[in-house]
Amino acid sequence: MRDVAIISFAQTKHAREISDINEVEILMPLMTEALASAGIAKERVDFVCSASSDYLAGQPFSFVMSLDAFGPWPPISESHVDMDGAWAMYEAWVKMQMGKTDIALVYAYGKSSPGNIRRVLSRQLDPYSLGPLWLDSVSIAAMQARLGLDAGVFTEQQIAEVVVDARRHGAQNPFAQLGGTFDVAGLLEEPEFVAPLRKHDCAPVTDGAAVMILAAGDVARELSDRPAWIRGIDHRIEAAALGVRDLTRSTSTKLAAQHARVAAGAVDFAELHAPFAHQELLLRAAIGLDDSVTVNPSGGALCANPIMTAGLVRLGEAAARITRGDGDRAVAHATSGPCLQQNLVCVLEGD
């Protein structure tokens, strides 16, 4: 595979509501920041790929307007996915494998605040069976947590420990929405929200966006002192019908991790896209991360979860840490769909 690296990343200060500006206005400063950080003008970008959901914007073809944030004139080579931005990054990475595309810009955005995200996400369900029940995203995740607890895959104590770590890390992250010092005993005294999940076990509702720049080979070396090289990347999907899946394991994550060759070396840290605390435990197990691996030093989705964007943020956070020298080999992960239905795993390395 051709060497491709993440060389620049910018994100919003994620918030419960960014209501005074639209998506283009959210993205434009991030584009400027990411390009400036890479030290390039936008004319050097060979390919642009973005990710967003019309169901958040409440408008068909909503991405059409947000492209104005890049300013595609003269016309550009460009594509868009209706998946998390991590998959937009994947499309760009594929395009770069063929040799002619040296620099790609990827962006993703999602404003959940205008709607009721729990109800909106229920529109992802099979429209003939589960969809008409308006089964909401928190309730589905709660059923998964219950299955895991009953099967002894994890304990309430372990779920609370995930939250304690996430919030502690979030407090150190200027872009995170939540953060702070908590203890397990205190968290377990909180009332249940949708049993067995407590509010802190669920990702917050977030508005936010992110921009990433990829570069290949010598171009990456020219533009970055320490590029975060993509050494393995793969994504897999599981069945939609919840009843045919073993929800206490993430088989698609395990498969993607194998194809991304996570086990080929030691992992210094991981950024895992777990919108619910118990899912981080399932992901750790599926990827095969032992307890020595720091997970979500950014605080993860539990501290900021802009829909369509949070997976790309995991890739960007991991790359930024590699570039800063905070580690040499990292795993970044993104998810989509109910109960971790679809998962992407990426291995990033410094030189």
């Binding site: 059409v64 004139w73 209706d82 992802q124 099979d126 999907i237 989509s336």
Partner: protein
Amino acid sequence: MGAQRVAIVGVGQTHHQAIIDGSIAGVVRTAAQRALDDADMTWSDIDAVVIGKAPDFFEGVMMPELFLADALGAVGKPMFRVHTAGSVGGSTAIVASDLIASGLHERVLTVAFEKQSESEAMWALSVSMPFQPPMHAGAGGYFAPHIRSYMSRSGAPDHIGVLVALKDRLNALKNPYAHLHQDDVTFESINETMMLWDPIRLGETCPSSDGACAMVLTNEAGGDAAAAAGRPPAWVKGTALRSEPTMFAGRDQVNPQGGRDCAADVFKQAGISDPFREVDVVEMYVPFSWFEPMWLENLGFAPIGDGWKFVENGVTQMTGELPVNCSGGVLSSNPIGASGMLRFAEAAMQVRGQAGEHQIDGARTALGHAYGGGSQFFAMWVVSSTKP
């Protein structure tokens, strides 16, 4: 193109119609199964699935690829969803092609669909948004001024649009998969239809269709194997995407720079310097009849201002020098998300010699063209009966 050659070895589509009385999963699986049958493959032969469609709003399912994973045999495999306006069917095929060209996969299934009967696309497109000009009752209202401007610039007479519609509807009679089969269609019957968005008559407008299209793409070894088995593949000679800003006052919506650049790029990759002479057959995205002469000029087939003369002189008929939309085109079948992929797939069918009654004898090189949005998104590929 990249290091790896890409072959189209299987094509499948539904019988497009106003209402396919079945599930969305059934619609996509029907097209996919036909593509697999055509490729002499089974579901387990496929490495990855790439699916595309136009806005999720049209069926009321958010990210429908999630619930379609089972129906498309994608469980345990990579499944990728593309969404680039009306050009999405073309963009989706290009992502699938890239997965082969990059060497990542050997056999990729790509599918695009729309089930317009689940909703009303015209009004779904007409959501009023703050600080944005309204669409006014769907795409026809948006495009009518562009067409009027083309007529004004080129001096094209009023009847050109009717001629295009008549040609495509007559071609559709040769295509068993086309939605509209108007056996008694005439110039007069189209000309007398209601004026919807002046100058666009009802008869010059695409239908609302349910339908899907699928293709199986392979690497060079797969293409060679298909050829050896007596199933000639289509070879991808070039792919290109272009996008431009929606509201930029400097853009020309009648002859968009993005379309010109995209065509120049894809023809260059395919080694084509004179598209009119070197391309044997074209499947272009013509949702309203007048876009045929407009795109003939935009793509470089006709000199600026002369596209309508090509139509009037019969150049784009099946018996003409540059047959356009032998399948009946978007004017005869419009499952929106699939319409771009149908153009790409029909181009492949022509160079494979499998287009049946609407086959152009000896077609070797074909262009598949898709556009979307307000004429600011373009996707194209050139396919050939011979290896690049």
